[in-house]
């Protein structure tokens, strides 16, 4: 039998309050399996502010500082520096925030925190919209998506702007480790977390985290849609270690974007031409990523 590198320990307990099929619960579960008990979490306003349960219950076995929407970066800075002042440098300090709390309202505090170089983890669980408030567009919502603030209507007012690329924004901060991950590839996610644990400084993860409720996908399709995102190039899995790109999952055969989009009600309105445009966009992004990998792995002379 093949050994899976997923630790058996559980720090996320049954009894959470997430929706059926919530990808973000698996993100947390794998995160804690990889980092272990010696971890302090800070979570701002987001689905995960609710998922642990209502006071006094809490489905997590690590300490947790809930905080305001836009301050995750500042909160983990404060926790880490307090621990340093107390001589407890070995505790993993983790900010765990949604895409709105990361790419939009929290981007300033995050940018400040990683620029200052605190030895912290920041996990952006990316469900591609403000899901806790009921599916509103965020900067991380992908092109073409329906949300309640991009409801279509007669004017076809959907989210037409490209998805804000948080991983690249973090790479631009010259931090030691940036990675993307998703729940359909837990080994890949956990391997990256364990690697990051050995790296001092800010570590940023953008974790693709399907939201069946908001994406109009059946709850039992979360993992599948997550896998399709990787196979269609919608969400490539890679890491950037000290500026060096490495694509960690290179599918032998890609699936058309159309197949990925068709799985989700939030894209049902798209025309063939629009799907074609989105296909071109992800193809271009993938080529760009391949090029970055090539350049930063020291093969610049070849291009």
């Amino acid at each position: 039998m093949r050994h899976l590198p997923i630790p058996e320990e559980e720090y996320m307990l049954p009894g959470h309050t997430a929706c059926l099929g919530c990808g973000a619960t698996l993100v947390m579960r794998y995160l804690l399996k990889a980092l272990g008990k010696n971890t302090i979490l800070s979570i701002p306003a987001c689905c995960w502010a609710v998922i642990p349960g209502v006071y006094p219950r809490r489905a997590l076995e690590v300490p947790l500082l809930y905080t305001a929407f836009e301050v995750t970066g500042a909160a983990i800075s404060g926790i880490k520096e307090a621990l340093n002042a107390m001589g407890k440098e070995d505790v993993n300090v983790v900010g765990f925030a949604g895409d709105g709390g990361t790419a939009d309202i929290g981007i300033q505090a995050l940018s400040g925190a990683v620029e200052r170089g605190h030895d912290v983890f920041y996990i952006m669980y990316d469900n591609e919209a403000y899901m806790n408030t009921g599916i509103q567009r965020s900067g991380s919502t992908p092109m073409g998506a329906w949300t309640t603030t991009t409801p279509g209507g007669k004017k076809r007012m959907y989210k037409w702007e490209p998805k804000k690329n948080m991983a690249e924004i973090m790479v631009a901060h010259k931090i030691p480790y940036v990675a993307t991950a998703t729940i359909a590839y837990p080994e890949d996610f956990i391997k990256k977390l364990k690697k990051a644990k050995e790296i001092k400084g800010p570590k940023f993860f953008q974790v693709f985290s399907p939201c069946p409720t908001g994406w109009r996908v059946p709850p039992n399709k979360s993992v599948e849609v997550s896998k399709m995102a990787v196979l269609s190039k919608a969400f490539p899995l890679y890491e950037v270690e000290h500026g060096k790109y490495r694509i960690t999952v290179k599918p032998k055969k890609f699936v058309p974007m159309k197949d990925y989009l068709k799985m989700q009600g939030r894209f049902r309105h798209l025309t063939e031409e629009e799907i074609e445009r989105i296909q071109e966009e992800v193809d271009r992004n993938w080529e760009e990523l391949l090029l970055k990998e090539k350049i930063t792995q020291g093969e610049t002379h070849e291009i």
Partner: protein
């Protein structure tokens, strides 16, 4: 004890240094900046042992202090005006989380139009955040109040944060002789930080989780209200203890100056009090019986003291260096609220010195004369009066 020539901001930095916070989160804003610059200097020279987080905003400064204090260490920060109002959300978070953070605030006017000069709206607008508020009269009080604020706030029956105000430039950038206490005395007085709770992987608790209407949200707030009431007693006690150790006696929540047998008493916060004391001495020479009540603590509000003070005169003149648009300035409405049912003496609101406009002895003489007339007639001419507006002949 060393005598030093310090500005208000240097006094604040010394107050912080002596209290030994372990984390300082800092963001510059005029006229506060020299506080965090001085602290940076102390840390850079190894004279202060603290982690210094150069945050990217005041909002993050308060958020970082909250997180650090919740992790189990003493914290300090400083701000002014727009920085303070940007923090507003996190101020409420800090007190709700029962974290006795201490912060220096240099009172500066809010834009528009841009003004860096003194005006108390910035901190008065934080009245309802659950922070204790001290308004200083001089640089010595700035330093001493920081030390006392840690001692009061960190008591486990209080656990509330405190902001200590200085008027912009009048204190922040004006140097005067200040006694800087010996470190050993402050160490003994403030003591080690003993958190009532903290983030700890060995004892994994959650702080600030979701709570339903039937949960104890209201009870948490009631406990804060009780703590704020308890703080009144604690402040009186700690100022006594401070006097025993350091030889300087502060008057608890309110300072009274020549209030005995007064016909009219001015109620004020901040540095206007210093000018007023001189003016009172001069007017007393001329047989005009005026006095002063300087509110040190705006939160908790000294309603008991004011109910005693009002008995001593025929009227109160409430002088505010900010305005609450809609009805009267904050100190006025608070005082009136505290005195309702306890007096039928006339009370008048004077709005002065907004945006740093100078409050000269002449201005105060005119206000006292107006107060004495009201005391004599028993009738308030105008309930709320803006003093010294351009073109207003009453005050020119």
């Amino acid at each position: 004890m060393a005598k030093m020539i310090l500005t208000g901001n240097e006094s604040a930095a010394w107050g912080a240094r002596l209290s030994k916070p372990k984390v300082v989160a800092a963001y510059p804003i005029t006229p506060q900046t020299s506080i965090i610059e001085k602290i940076a200097e102390f840390i850079a020279n190894g004279e202060m042992d603290a982690r210094y987080i150069r945050v990217e905003s005041e909002h993050s400064a308060m958020a970082a202090c909250i997180a650090a204090e919740n992790t189990g260490v003493r914290t300090f920060t400083a701000t002014s005006a727009h920085g303070l109002t940007l923090m507003h959300e996190m101020l409420i978070w800090a007190s709700g989380a029962r974290l006795p953070i201490v912060m220096s605030v240099v009172n500066r006017a809010m834009a528009p139009p841009w003004s860096v000069w003194t005006d108390q709206l910035d901190s008065v607008a934080q009245r309802d955040t659950g922070w204790m508020q001290i308004y200083s009269e001089n640089n010595q009080e700035v330093l001493d109040s920081i030390i006392m604020a840690y001692r009061v706030g960190e008591k486990h029956n209080i656990l509330l944060p405190t902001m200590i105000m200085e008027d912009a430039f009048i204190l922040s950038h004006t140097a005067e002789a200040v006694d800087v206490p010996e470190q050993k005395l402050v160490d003994d007085f403030v003591g080690e930080f003993e958190p009532a709770f903290k983030l700890d992987p060995q004892d994994p608790g959650g702080f600030g989780s979701l709570i339903m209407p039937e949960g104890p949200y209201m009870e948490f707030r009631y406990k804060m209200a009780l703590a704020m009431d308890e703080a009144r007693k604690e402040i009186r006690k700690v100022t006594e203890e401070f006097a025993e150790v350091f030889g300087r006696k502060y008057p608890g929540l309110v300072e009274e100056y020549r209030t005995e047998d007064a016909d009219a008493i001015m109620v004020v916060m901040g540095t206007i009090a210093s000018t007023a004391k001189d003016v009172i001495d001069a007017l007393r020479e001329k047989g005009k019986k005026v006095g002063l009540a300087r509110i040190r603590y705006f939160r908790p509000f000294p309603y008991e003291e004011l109910r005693e003070i009002v008995k001593k005169a025929d009227m109160l003149g409430i002088v505010d260096r900010s305005y609450t648009f809609g009805y009267g300035a904050a100190l006025y409405t608070e005082t009136k609220g505290a005195l309702y049912g306890h007096t039928d003496k006339p009370i008048k609101n004077y709005v002065v010195g907004l945006g740093g406009r100078d409050i000269t002895p002449d201005v105060l003489v005119k206000i006292f004369d107006n107060m004495l007339k009201i005391a004599k007639d028993g009738v308030v001419d105008r309930e709320i009066e803006w003093v010294g507006l351009h073109g207003d002949e009453r005050w020119s």
